[in-house]
């Protein structure tokens, strides 16, 4: 288990200090295509930051995030042992990488200092029939995490200015269909503006029970930017929503421009007749994810 522990420490380092090649490639395209000066200026520095962080092995962002693990465990291997190994690795990585201590006791308001606390890191485990242990790690920034929304369809969307006294509010109804889903996601992105470091990657989950869709929409952020959903109807909706988001003109860092999101990833869970949830998760441009196969 010591070797696994050290492997997870290295996974932390890799995920905190570099971003996946598919995300970096998408960001380069954003920079090339942007014509707005402020967006291009910002994107240029973001790309330099990625190179500097990788070369000097320093975190891409000072917010090294809420660590979220998705672990697939072969039969017979103790889940408790894996959990303990992750906690040990987290303490070591916080010191070694270093990571910013982000775990705050919500009762005493004290920072634990080592990124370990109640339900922190977040660890999802499932058993697999395969012989290999797969540890996926996402370092989820707090700014973009705060932008997530849950809708219950049908839903009357009240869309309003947050930064103006002018009253230009309007209402629209999101019904129980793909168009209703699309409206909810656009509402979430409009509300987000530039607060969570666009260009975003957007995860969507529909149907299900309330806690399921939050888990599933976040899990979609682990998908590669250029993958294609196996269901053609879902794949088409992902593309439609991505195009609509980019028509909003929010742009890099919310300063206006062509690209507000680089990817939209959706999934579903079967729903109860009474429920139709739509959950939207955001990742900042620094979609930090990685995998360890053991």
């Amino acid at each position: 288990m010591l070797k696994l522990r050290d492997g997870i420490v290295e996974l932390y380092r890799k995920v905190a200090t570099s971003i996946p090649s598919d995300v970096e490639e998408a960001l380069r395209k954003v920079c090339e295509n942007e014509t707005e000066l402020l967006g291009k200026y910002t994107m240029d520095i973001i790309l330099k930051n990625i190179s500097i962080s990788r070369a000097t092995s320093r975190p891409i962002c000072q917010d090294t995030g809420f660590p979220v693990f998705f672990v697939k465990i072969p039969q017979g291997l103790s889940h408790n042992l894996i959990r303990q190994t992750i906690l040990d690795a987290t303490r070591i990585a916080t010191e070694k990488v270093p990571l910013r201590p982000n775990a705050i006791d919500t009762i005493s308001e004290r920072n634990t200092g080592d990124n370990v606390g109640e339900y922190f890191p977040l660890i999802y485990m499932e058993e697999t029939a395969e012989q290999t242990l797969v540890v996926d790690l996402m370092l989820k920034g707090g700014g973009c995490e705060n932008l997530g929304q849950t809708y219950k369809l049908p839903w009357a969307l009240v869309i309003s200015h947050q930064r103006s006294i002018e009253n230009k509010d309007f209402e629209t109804v999101a019904e129980r269909d793909f168009d209703g889903v699309r409206k909810c996601v656009l509402d979430a992105v409009f509300k987000a503006q530039g607060k969570g470091c666009p260009p975003y990657t957007i995860g969507i989950a529909i149907g299900g029970a309330k806690d399921q869709v939050s888990f599933l929409s976040k899990k979609q952020l682990m998908r590669r930017i250029n993958d294609k959903h196996p269901d053609n109807a879902v794949a088409a909706l992902e593309q439609k929503i991505l195009a609509d988001i980019n028509s909003l003109g929010i742009g890099v860092a919310g300063m206006g421009g062509k690209t507000t999101a680089i990817g939209v990833k959706m999934t579903m869970a079967h729903r109860h007749p009474a429920s139709y949830f739509v959950d939207v998760s955001f990742s900042c441009w620094a979609n930090r994810r990685g995998r360890l196969i053991w």
């Binding site: 291009k40 000097t56 962002c61 930064r163 409009f190 503006q193 607060k195 003109g249």
Partner: protein, 215 residues
């Protein structure tokens, strides 16, 4: 190896620069300095700045500590919404990573902080709302949008960590840190004349949204 190389190597590419040169500013800022800057201006900041985020703002706005009880000068200064990664080595602090955090979370406190402490610049990401904009117009202060998530690049523009306040009480990310910066890049997105790029972008996106959900 890139390492701690400073200056030219990390500068923005010439094609971007040539379109609009950056303006160099130095803290402490005077009211005149602030009034001369407009939305869209790209600035390079040198001098001392302090960090302050959620806990510091709540504390300043509610407790209103006397200026003499705060170890750092806030008058004419810049408050940077940032929770850095800092490593303590013997007697000194080494800064590892220091990008901006979302400014909107302290919207309810910022006007009071600007009014009470005479701050001339608020730096962060994502912009701020109407209350802050009005306080900036009334007292002479600007909002500086720095590069979201560019924590290593920005850390290399910070020459020294000169001290910290409330480190034990608020924790490393939420303490107030005094930093000496050189050519630290930012964009003026709310000026002291009542203009806000964030409000403009929001209004444009609202109109677009309307056509896409009602069409």
């Amino acid at each position: 190896m890139l390492g701690k190389q400073k200056g030219k190597a990390y500068m923005v590419s010439p094609e971007v620069r040539s379109q609009k040169p950056e303006i160099r500013i130095k803290t402490p800022l005077s009211k005149e300095d602030v009034l001369s800057l407009k939305v869209g201006d790209m600035v390079l900041i040198s001098g001392r700045i302090v960090t302050g985020r959620d806990k510091i703002h709540k504390f300043l706005a509610h407790e209103r500590p006397d200026k003499r009880d705060i170890p750092f000068e806030l008058e004419g200064g810049i408050i940077y919404h940032c929770g850095p990664i800092i490593r303590k080595t013997d007697e000194t602090y080494k800064l590892i990573s220091a990008g901006p955090t979302t400014s909107m979370r302290v919207e309810m406190y910022e006007a009071e902080v600007i009014r009470t402490y005479g701050v001339r610049g608020i730096m962060g990401k994502g912009g701020m709302g109407m209350e802050t904009l009005n306080a900036m117009k009334e007292f002479g202060c600007i909002y500086l949008h720095t590069v979201s998530g560019a924590a290593s690049y920005l850390a290399d523009k910070i020459m020294r960590v000169e001290g910290g306040w409330k480190i034990e009480e608020f924790g490393m990310p939420e303490a107030m840190w005094l930093l000496e910066v050189e050519d630290f890049p930012a964009i003026v997105t709310i000026d002291a004349h009542g203009n806000s790029l964030h409000r403009e972008v929001e209004m444009i996106s609202l109109e677009k949204l309307k056509t896409m959900v009602e069409g």
